[in-house]
């Protein structure tokens, strides 16, 4: 999966911190308190606090995880059974076939929070406009224009424009109009 290991020790109950570099949204391996490892999609949206764990879990099973990439611990506060259900927080259909899909609510702080097209959006530190576009699965890679904090970022500057925490980003295209 083209994974990259992050630094830090791994303990039971913590996210191992593996990140698939070429996949969006980022997927993590989560190690549960019982030693079980699961693949997880962590929330795109801090507001929705919705993510997904894939694997054989019991509904209501208490799980505590911690993200190695973040300075603050993250706690799974609820575990709801929702077989096959997709949530708004996910960028598109889940492609991994798993025996059971559980949705979870987790409290998570991210390195950088953007407002993207009016919605909260979490992004890794140092992400450029080009990175952001590349990370959006359903976005056409041509025919979009980007504005950051009410200023157009020309396409030629996408790769060199680094986003900052709190940035307000608009990604627009042409649609039918009169």
């Amino acid at each position: 999966m083209g994974m990259r290991e992050t630094s830090g020790s791994i303990e039971p109950g913590e996210v191992i911190g593996l990140k698939a570099e070429n996949q969006t949204p980022p997927r993590y391996l989560v190690r549960l308190e019982n030693g079980q490892e699961l693949e997880a999609i962590l929330p795109l949206s801090i507001r929705s606090k919705v993510g997904c764990l894939f694997g054989p879990l019991q509904a209501g099973q208490p799980v505590r995880v911690k993200l190695m990439e973040s300075p603050r611990p993250h706690r799974i506060v609820d575990l709801n059974h929702a077989n096959g259900r997709l949530h708004k927080g996910l960028a598109g259909p889940v492609r991994t076939v798993a025996p059971v899909t559980h949705t979870i609510e987790i409290e998570r702080a991210t390195p950088m929070q953007l407002t993207l097209n009016g919605q909260p959006h979490d992004a890794p530190d140092g992400q450029t406009v080009a990175d952001l576009i590349a990370a959006l699965d359903h976005l056409p890679k041509v025919g979009v224009a980007v504005e950051v904090n009410r200023e157009v970022v020309p396409k030629a500057m996408h790769a060199t424009t680094t986003l900052r925490d709190g940035d307000v980003v608009e990604i627009v295209t042409l649609v039918g109009g009169g």
């Binding site: 025919g143 396409k155 627009v172 295209t173 042409l174 039918g176 009169g178």
Partner: protein, 283 residues
């Protein structure tokens, strides 16, 4: 497709807006069609050279993968992005710049054009004159060719032209209302004021067209062109209505150039009185 030469022969001088010669005096919108295929056929039937589009947030999740741009020949059409949905000058300027960025990527000649709309409210869609004027100044200073939607107020029309608009586009009636030209006298006055000493200044009737005769009416008044969307897109047969609009525009243009007769209160006979063999009342 009407060539420039044909147009010279039949419709007088071609319409020039922002220094560019247009192949058609009909500008049509791309909104509200039942589907993209119908839009594509209607645009073709309209004979339009310039088509308007809107700038909107890209859908980031579960997009259907179909983009309007897949159905538009960007070599054939000049794309005129609008600022529809903007209620302040600042937002209109932002949207205009995003439109320019999008068309720059397409290398379309419409890239420095904008159909400026600064609206007052969602219900009437009437223009906010103060915001419109401010945005016109800012955009003209930023190098845009501003085609400016406004009401049929002649005073505002003059101010918008003075602010640097490439074309003033008074509304015949509210956007999408299909009421036609409600105040032809106001349109006539606007034409007279804006073309005084500047006959080539383009005045395009924008909004309110319900059917073909509305287009003809506007052109007969001396408008340089007509911009419409809903009248075609929401007709039961959009493609046929596009065809009708095209011909209505040509009819109105011809009638304007031909010069209509004066209206009279009483009749004037078309057949000669001399040689009449019948009894004539009162004689």
């Amino acid at each position: 497709m009407t060539t420039t030469n044909d147009q010279n022969a039949t419709q007088g001088q071609p319409l020039v807006v922002g220094g560019r010669e247009l192949r058609s005096r009909l500008i049509v919108g791309t909104g509200k069609y039942a589907d993209y295929e119908t839009m594509q056929r209607a645009l073709d039937a309209s004979g339009a050279h310039v088509i308007t589009v809107a700038v909107r947030r890209e859908r980031l999740i579960d997009a259907d993968g179909r983009s309007m741009l897949d159905y538009i020949d960007t070599d054939r059409y000049t794309i005129l992005p609008n600022t529809a949905g903007c209620f302040t000058a600042d937002d209109a300027v932002r949207v205009a710049r995003l439109g320019r960025e999008l068309l720059d990527q397409l290398d379309n000649p419409g890239k420095d054009w904008v159909k400026l709309e600064v609206l007052a409210d969602k219900k009437t869609l009437l223009p906010d004159p103060v915001g419109t004027l401010e945005a016109t100044k800012q955009l003209a200073a930023d190098g845009f060719k501003v085609l400016c939607y406004t009401s049929d107020d002649p005073v505002m029309a003059v101010k918008i032209k003075e602010a640097g608009a490439a074309s003033v586009m008074p509304a015949g009636s509210p956007i999408g209302s299909g009421q036609g030209v409600l105040n032809p006298n106001a349109i006539t006055i606007i034409l007279e004021l804006l073309k005084d000493g500047d006959a080539g200044y383009p005045v395009i009737l924008d909004a309110g067209v319900g059917t073909a005769s509305d287009v003809t009416h506007a052109m007969e008044l001396g408008a340089d062109g007509v911009l419409l969307n809903t009248g075609i897109a929401h007709a039961k047969d959009a493609v046929r209505m596009a065809h009708a609009m095209r011909h209505a525009l040509e009819a109105g243009r011809h009638a304007y150039l031909a010069g209509r007769i004066d209206k009279r209160l009483y009749a004037t006979a078309s057949s000669p009185w001399s040689g009449v063999i019948s009894y004539i009342p009162g004689e």
